[in-house]
Structure formats: structure tokens, C-alpha cells
Amino acid sequence: MPLSYTIAVIAIPLIMFLFLGLSGVKMGKKTTGIIGVIAMLITTILAYGVALTYFFGSSEGQIVDGVRKAVTVFNPDWLTFSDTLVVRMGIMLDPIAAMMLIVITTVSLMVHLYSLGYMCDHHGNAEKGFQRYYAFLALFTFSMLGLVVATNLFQIFIFFEMVGVSSYLLIGFYYTTPAANHANKKAFIVTRLADLFFLIGILILSFYTQTFDFFSNNVNGIIGMLDDPQASLAQAGTTTFMGCSAMAWALTFIFIGGAGKSAMYPLHIWLPDAMEGPTPVSALIHAATMVVAGVFLVARLFPMYVLVQGTMDIICVVGAFTAFYAAAIACVQSDIKRALAFSTISQIAFMMTSLAVSSADGQLIEIHGGYGLGFMASMFHLFTHAMFKALLFLCAGAIIHAVHSNENDKMHGLHKYMPITSIAFLIGCLAIAGIPPFAGFWSKDEILVAAYEKGIGWGIWMTMVAGMTAFYMFRIYFLIFHWKKHEVHTEHEPADQPWTMTLPLIILAAISIVAGFVPAAKLVTWDGTPLHTQLNWTIAGTSVLIACIGIGLAYKMYYKENDLPERMANSCRGLWTAAYKRFYMDELYQFITHKVIFQGICKPIAKFDRAIIDGFFNMLAEVTNRTSFGIRKMQSGSIQGYVYFYLIGVLLLAVITMACVLL
């Protein structure tokens, strides 16, 4: 399949957004949904075709000297600022873009299908706003696809904002509930704040490089420039500001933008609240695709990040801390979606850390043929995580749909009632816990290898977090499906959901089992050179062992109803409460924004605005009005008056000018 078909992959969701958004209300609700699913199916097939052609084809100049190069399918000029500074809009395919095409379309298709069942009540009637929902899903898919195939930073930024907007719209889908309104505002503001830094980073970078493009045919793009020591980018490396090079500043700012979308500490606070949206949306946006946009961004600029050790260290520390921090909170949450949200934060932090540790230089290059192991592991984990986390969320959605609650204590003992969901959830848990041969094992093992090679401390830390992951996931699993007998508290017994919801679970579960065998090391590397990896049995064995300990602990504490969790919680009540309250981060933000910023800064500015700025315009209006009233007699309507006015005007003009010029 020609790579130029990528344009169709992107165009179909956009057309669907316009079509469903504009004419959806005129059609039946179910019809819109079915049209959406069919369009998404076509998109998915095309995306697979394009991605597989890219990975396994050899025409169109993808492979040069055994290295898989990025292919710019097309890249027309959009805005021309100067001869060199041009914003283009185009499509570029490279290993990570092709991989993301597969991830996005797969999960999106599953979610489209699943929503057909989920967005209906128990009598099969579609909810209010069904058409709007499908239109927004299409908008999101379009924005995300546009982001990954972007040829330049500016395009990435535009689509970065667009995924933010569609995420905002979907979180607030139930716009009549206050919680959803608060959540979407919070998500939008926090990510926008981060995007401000991203924009500054882009501007710094483009100031030095005079281009936004990553690669370009005629002039060097940002990344292409790295090979050329004479390039203006070198100047960015040497110009310093406050002790750091301009390039380091730019890259750090860009990372902050990515950290906002990818919910790195301390910008993670929006993600748990974003769970107010419909659960399929959480699966698509807040687990599988949009939240990894930050990781994708760092990966996209990875050839630059490896040059700046300082920035990589920051990312490394932030990532490792976030992984642990979110895992700790996930251990005590009682709301199933929030627990999964924190699990997502933790897993994304794994990917970030993995990217950051891969800058370690030296002998690594000889061992692994390049410092791209962490990069490869990160992208591989991104791929597998998207699949099993989407699976977990969709399972959670099925459970919530059955029992009408997000809370653990309304569930318990569901295994008997919902066997398919139970097994699918179990597969998801095994995958995320890193038990072979499930998908998570393979990708997490590569991450741990990369971390150990950065330093033994990083390795032990990440292994520990991996153990916690196993613990909290199985805690959730046991609490939902076992613990004690289910008490039916709704008018009907919980049961497996209709086929539209079950089929995606089965497909994703199947993918979660086999995805680990995808030869990612051969395909998804930072410079296109295949890596030769082999399983490091010491590290893999250790991590499996730790994971098993975590699972065992969870089994002991949560499989059958007992008072062990309660006693454990009581023994360190303070820590437990702190973790349950998410270490008071939201309260801290409340304090800073309301007490410090609103009271201390905004209020005086508001006063100035009212008194001085508004005052000026009010005065202008008042003066205008009065003068206008005063001179209304000038327009007398009599022609003699007009001519007098004319003549006096001419003469005054001559006299006054004469006075001005001559005197």
C-alpha cells in the first residue's frame, strides 16, 4: 500500500467529525454510532496497511544502507514568515509514527465499537448526546493521528492543542454534572499551562535553527542539523543563559509541555479527575493515546535530548519519582477508575524514565549497538501498555456499567456473574504485572535492563516499583472479583455485557497476550538501525520474582475477606491517609492558586484593570457621547450653512498651516 494513503488515515476521522457533528442530529443515534464504527474500521485497515508497508516494505527509499529512514510523504508550505522560517503541514512516517498509527487506530476502533454498548442504558436506548460523543471521538482520533505524523514542531504543537481540546470536550461530556465541569476545566488549564512552556521551547529552538522541521529535503531540519557541525544549532549549544545552554532550556521547556500531557509529577493532578468522562474515553485518551503524547514528544526529539545530559537527568529523576509516587497512591485508592489512572501515571513514568536512562554513554554502545535500548524499550512499553491498559479500562467500564458505581465496596465477588470480564481483567493484570509470556513482561524487562545499565540504583528502584505495580493491580482484581460474595443492590444482577462491549475485551486480551512477541527491537529504534537484544535472565528473573511476591501479598490480603488490610492501614494510619488523599497535592494546588495567586496577584491586577483601564474607556465613552451631543447642530441641513462651513474650513486650513510652517 503506498505510504501516501496516510492522508486518508487522517482525513477520514476529520470528515467523520464534520459529518457526524453537523448532520448527526438529523440521523438516528444508533445510525451515527454504526457509521462512526465503520469509518474507523476503514481508517484502521488503512493505517495497518501503511504501517506494515513502512515496516516491511523496501520501496520508496525507506531503507538506506540497512537503516530504516524517516519518509516524508508530503510537506507543503502553510505559512511563510521569511525565506527560511516556514511553517509546513505534512506527513512524515518513521518507526515511532508508524507504530503510533497502529496503537491509535486499534484502541480507537475498540473504543468506537465498545461505546455502542456502553453509551446505552440497560434497555438498549442510546444516551443523550450520542451523536456528539461520536463526533468528538472522531475529532480526537484525527488530532492524535495528526500529531504523530507531524513533520515539524509547529504542527505538533497545533495538534497537541487539538488533542487537549477534544480531551476537554470528552471529559466534560456529561456537562450537566458539576464534577465533570470541574474536571475538564482542570485538565485543560493544567495542560495549557504546560503547553505554554512547550511553546516557549519551540520558539527558542526555532530561533536558533531557523526552522520548525524535523527533517527536510532542501534545508536541514532540526534533527537533520545534528549531523552538520557548522549548523546554527551548534550556536544554541554554546549560547548560555543562567548557566545552561539555550538548547538545554529549550529542551527542558519542551519536556515540561510533554510532562503536562503525560501527567508527570507535579503536573499529574488533572488525570485522576479526568476519569469523570465516560469510561471508554478514559480508555482511549487517558490511558492509551493522549497521555503518551508527552513521551512521544520526547521520543520525537530524542536525537537532541541525548546530547543534553542535564535535561535527561531531570527527566530521569522526574520519571522515576512519578513512577513510585503514583504507584504508592494506587495501592490505597478505593475508586477503581482512579486506581487505574494512577497506575497509568506510574506506567507512563516508566516510559519517560526509560527514554531518559538511554542517554548513558560509554561502553553501552559496544554492548547494545547504540544507546537506543531505553528508547526502544520505552516505545515498546508504550505499545504494549496502550493495549493492556485500554483492556483494563474497558473491563472497568463493563463492571461500572453492570453495578452503577466506581467504588470497590459496591463490587466484590463479581467473578461468578461476569466471567468473561473477569478473565479479561486478569489477563490485563498479568500483563501489567510483567508475568511472562504476557505483553508487559517483555517491554518492562527491556526498561529494567536499560535502567540497570544507567546505574544499579535506578534498576533497583524501578524493579521495586514494578513489584508495587503487581501488588496494586492484583489488589484491585481481588477486591472486584473475589473478597466476598456479591450483594446485589440494583434491580438486576450484574452480568457480562452485550457483544459490542465484550468483543473489544476479547480482542484486546488476545493482543495483550501476544503483543510481547512483536520484534520491536528490530523495528522501533531511534535511528532505524535494528538492535540485537536478548533476554537478560538475571534481571528478568528478579523482576518476575518481585512481581510474584507482589501478587502473593495481594492474594493474602485481598482474596478472601479478612481484617488484614484494615490492621495494616491502622498500623500506619498517617501514611495511609496521606496516600489516600493523594499526598494532599490537590490541596497544595488549591492553596497556591486561590490563596497566593488569586488573592495576592490577581486581585490587585483586577483593581488596576477596573480603575485605570476601564476608567479610561469609560471616560472615552463619556467624552465621546457629550461631544457628539454638543456638535449635533453643526449638521444644519441648510445648504448655505454647508457652503459657509466649507469656505471657512478652507481658509482656516490655509491660515493655520501657514502659521505653523512659517512661524
Binding site: L620, S628, M634, Y646, L653, A654, T657, M658
Partner: protein
């Protein structure tokens, strides 16, 4: 005589041919074919407009009395587009009972005045200029009096003809002074002769003031503006829209040429100060009166006075940048004002309503008309991303690029006036969209020609703003006529 020089003025020749064809049709065609005169004229004019875009050989004609260059070419093309839209909007009106007997005259007079304006734009000799000016002025009085059954129409025409004659007299007097001092009527010769006069004679100040007054009358600059409101209100709407955009655009361009080419040398400073005062007065007084108007045609009259002040900012810049921004401004202004007049004309034709209160709740009954009007108001007010924002922006940049403190003050005053103007432009929008009315204007079934005219205007408002290369093109055109500015 060398007839080949006629090839350098194909736009004028083409216009004359159109005029003659229309005249022949009007005179010799049978009565039942007269019904198709408007559509015949419009199609003929459309063909001519399309052909007028073809660049041709340009240069001096008639021994230097006339000059065609890229700038005059582009200016005439813009005017052609405007007249085409005016014709589209007038078709239905000229077929109405009271007008239909004289519809041929409407088209012939408009074509004739357009020819006069072409002469004004291209002339490099005061004699030719005056011929152009008068050709473009006098028939307007007849056009203004077109609605014979309306008392206001007559009054407006009387006021117009008297002030026009008076201002022509003043203008001629000014020219005779200039001739007395320089001994020539050729623009270039006058400029050369004046640059040799070292002392700044009082006579010259008076002469410059008189010339400015003469052309300022056509542009309705304050204090030569007072006919405007009465004439705009009294004249038929098709004529008003023609007067407010086409006539104004042509005069503004001619004004720039005269000031820069004739008085460009030592007297730049003189007219700069005069223009400075005139601009401030024009913008401010236009705004102040516009605030109080309830009749929309009167309202647009004062709005167009204030817009003329903005156009003059391009003249005071006296540079290629100023010229480019001025041409661009006129183009945008033509689209915006014609969109507004298109709506007003369509509504007036069917209901006879023209006051702002009549437009209450228009959005509910006629959403597309309200939308068109809103875009026109936004564009006139300079709200991004519509073309009016960019035209204001460029004209401010053009003026400010001269870099003197006085001009900065002028631009600031103009900016403050923009805020004031927003108020009254938005009043119209408020009436249409926010105010409710039980007896709002019912749904208007406008003719397809009117709709086409409005559509072209709206497309212009949107497209000219977005396509940044329009302005780039204008500046290339202006750079190619840099010889006009050699005296500055």
C-alpha cells in the same frame, strides 16, 4: 497622431465600448427587450471586468497628459469589481415600476462617471484631471435625483449639485494660482517649477488648500463633508453604495497622486500639516456623528466619512508602503461597504425600512442577511480575522513607518477612534442579534442577483483577509511605480 498609444489604455477603451453598447441597446431595442437591459449590462460589464484584469502595455499617452502604470491598472480593476457588485445589487431595483422607464440612464450615467474616475486616476495634466473630475461629479446629481417620486431625492440632488459646483470653483481657483506660479498644467512641470521657487509664498498655501478642498469634497473629508449625509440618505441605495465606495476610492487614489507628484517637493511639509488636521477632524467628527444616527444610510454616510479619514493615513505616509496599504484598504472597504449596502438595499426594496430599530431581531427571520451585515460591520470595525482588521493594520503600519512623533500621535488618535467606531458598528449587530422584536422584518425573498452580490462581498471580506499574498501583491505594484514618489 500615433494611434498605437490607445493600446495603452485598454481599460478606458473597453469601458467606452461597454457604454456605447448599452447606449445602443437602450436606444434602438424594442420596448419588450428593455426588461433585459440590466442583466445585459451586468453581463457585459462582467465580461469587461474579467478582460480588464489582463495586463497590457503601459506608459505615457497624449504627450504626457495621461499615464497608465501598474498602480492605475490595479486601481481600475478594483473599481471595476466594485461597480460589478453595485450592478448586481441594482438589477432588481432598476426593474421596479417607478424606475424602469429610466433604467438605461442609470447604467449609462454610472458607466460615464466611472470613465471620469478612470481619467482622474490616470491623468498627469490638470486639464484632463478637471475633465475627469467633472465627468465623475455632475452625472452623480442626476443619479441622486433618480427616485423622482421622493422628495428627499430631489433635495439631495440640489444640495449635491450646489456644493459640487462650489467646490469645483474653489478647485479651479487653486489650479489657476498654481498655473500662475509655475506656468504649466503638467504635473511634472509644475513640480519642477515649484521646486525652484525658494520662498514659501502665501499664494501657494492658499493654492494647496484649495486643491485639497476640491478633491476633499469628493472624498467627503471634514470640513467639506456636509453634503454627504443628506445625499446618502436621499439618493437611491444603489447610487449611495456607488458614491460611498467607488467614487471615494477613485478620488483617494487621485488625491495621493496629486499631492505626491505635484506638491511633493518642498511643499510636502505644507500639505502634510493640512492633511494632518483634516484626518483628525474627519475621523473624529465622522465617528461622533455616526453614533447618533438611526437611519442606516445616514449612519453609513458618517461611517464612510470616518473611513475616508483612515484612507488618508495612506496618503500622509507618502511612500510606496502607504500607497500599497491605501489600495488594499480601498479594496477591503469596497467589499465591506457593499456587503452592508447590499443588505440595506434588499431590505429597503421590499419593506422600505431603513432605520436601526427596524433591524431588531433580524437574525431570527433572515439569518443569512444578518450574518452578512454582521461580517460587514466586523470588517468595517476592524475585528480580526476579517479583512478590515488587516487593512487597518497595514494602513497604520504604513503611516507609522514614516517615523515622526506627530504621525505616532495621529495613529494613536486613529486607534482611539477605532474603539469608538466599534461601538456603533456593534450597535447594528446588537440590534440584529440580541434585541428581540415582535414585528421584526419578515423573511425577505431576495433576488438571486442580490444574493450573488452579497456572496461576492462576503467572500471578499473573508478571503482578502486570509490570503496574505493580496497585500504582498499590492506592495509589489506600489514598488513598481516608485517614480511617482521621487520628490518626497
Amino acid at each position: 497622431m500615433d494611434y498605437s498609444q490607445f493600446l495603452m489604455m485598454p481599460q478606458e477603451i473597453g469601458l467606452l465600448i461597454v457604454f456605447l453598447l448599452v447606449f445602443i441597446y437602450d436606444t434602438f431595442m424594442p420596448a419588450r427587450a428593455q426588461r433585459f437591459l440590466p442583466i445585459f449590462t451586468t453581463i457585459l460589464f462582467a465580461i469587461y471586468t474579467a478582460f480588464s484584469f489582463i495586463p497590457c502595455q503601459m506608459g505615457e499617452l497624449f504627450g504626457g497628459m495621461m499615464e497608465t502604470n501598474p498602480a492605475t491598472w490595479v486601481m481600475k480593476c478594483i473599481l471595476n469589481i466594485g461597480v460589478f457588485i453595485v450592478f448586481l445589487q441594482a438589477i432588481k431595483w432598476t426593474n421596479e415600476d417607478f424606475v424602469s422607464v429610466r433604467r438605461g440612464e442609470f447604467y449609462e450615467l454610472i458607466l460615464l462617471t466611472l470613465f471620469g474616475m478612470f481619467l482622474m486616476i490616470s491623468s498627469r495634466h490638470f486639464l484632463l484631471f478637471v475633465i475627469g473630475l467633472e465627468t465623475a461629479s455632475l452625472p452623480i446629481a442626476a443619479l441622486t435625483a433618480f427616485e423622482k417620486r421622493h422628495y428627499e431625492s430631489h433635495e439631495a440632488a440640489a444640495k449635491y449639485i450646489f456644493t459640487a459646483i462650489f467646490s469645483s470653483a474653489i478647485f479651479m481657483l487653486g489650479i489657476s494660482f498654481v498655473y500662475g506660479m509655475s506656468g504649466s498644467l503638467y504635473f511634472n512641470d509644475i513640480a519642477n517649477a515649484l521646486s525652484l521657487i525658494s520662498s514659501k509664498s502665501i499664494l501657494l498655501f492658499v493654492a494647496v488648500a484649495f486643491v485639497i478642498a476640491g478633491v476633499g469634497f469628493k472624498l467627503s473629508l471634514v470640513p467639506f463633508h456636509q453634503w454627504t449625509a443628506d445625499v446618502y440618505q436621499g439618493a437611491p441605495t444603489a447610487v449611495t453604495s456607488y458614491l460611498s465606495v467607488i467614487s471615494k476610492g477613485a478620488a483617494a487614489f487621485a488625491f495621493l497622486i496629486i499631492l505626491v507628484q505635484v506638491f511633493g517637493s518642498a511643499y510636502h511639509q505644507v500639505w502634510e500639516w493640512m492633511l494632518y488636521a483634516i484626518i483628525i477632524l474627519t475621523i473624529t467628527i465622522g465617528n461622533l456623528f455616526a453614533i447618533r444616527q438611526h437611519n442606516l444610510k445616514r449612519f453609513l454616510a458618517f461611517s464612510s466619512i470616518s473611513q475616508a479619514g483612515y484612507i488618508m493615513l495612506g496618503v500622509i505616509a507618502a511612500s510606496t508602503v502607504g500607497m500599497a496599504s491605501m489600495i488594499y484598504y480601498i479594496l477591503v472597504y469596497i467589499f465591506s461597504n457593499l456587503a452592508a449596502f447590499g443588505v440595506i438595499a434588499a431590505i429597503e426594496r421590499q419593506t422600505g425600512k431603513v432605520t436601526m430599530d427596524d433591524y431588531n431581531g433580524l437574525f431570527k427571520t433572515n439569518p443569512w442577511m444578518a450574518f452578512t451585515m454582521m461580517l460587514a460591520m466586523f470588517s468595517l470595525g476592524g475585528i480580526p480575522p476579517f479583512a478590515g482588521f488587516f487593512s487597518k493594520f497595514f494602513i497604520f503600519v504604513g503611516a507609522a513607518s514614516t517615523g515622526s512623533v506627530a504621525i505616532y500621535v495621529l495613529v494613536f488618535i486613529a486607534l482611539v477612534n477605532t474603539i469608538i467606531s466599534l461601538y456603533y458598528y456593534l450597535l447594528v449587530v446588537k440590534a440584529m442579534f440580541i434585541r428581540q422584536d415582535e414585528c421584526a422584518i419578515p423573511y425577505i425573498d431576495s433576488h438571486w442577483t442580490e444574493e450573488l452580490g452579497m456572496t461576492i462581498s462576503v467572500m471578499g471580506i473573508i478571503a482578502v483577509g486570509i490570503a496574505s499574498n493580496v497585500y504582498t501583491f499590492m506592495s509589489q505594484i506600489s514598488d513598481s511605480v516608485i517614480h511617482i514618489f521621487h520628490l518626497i
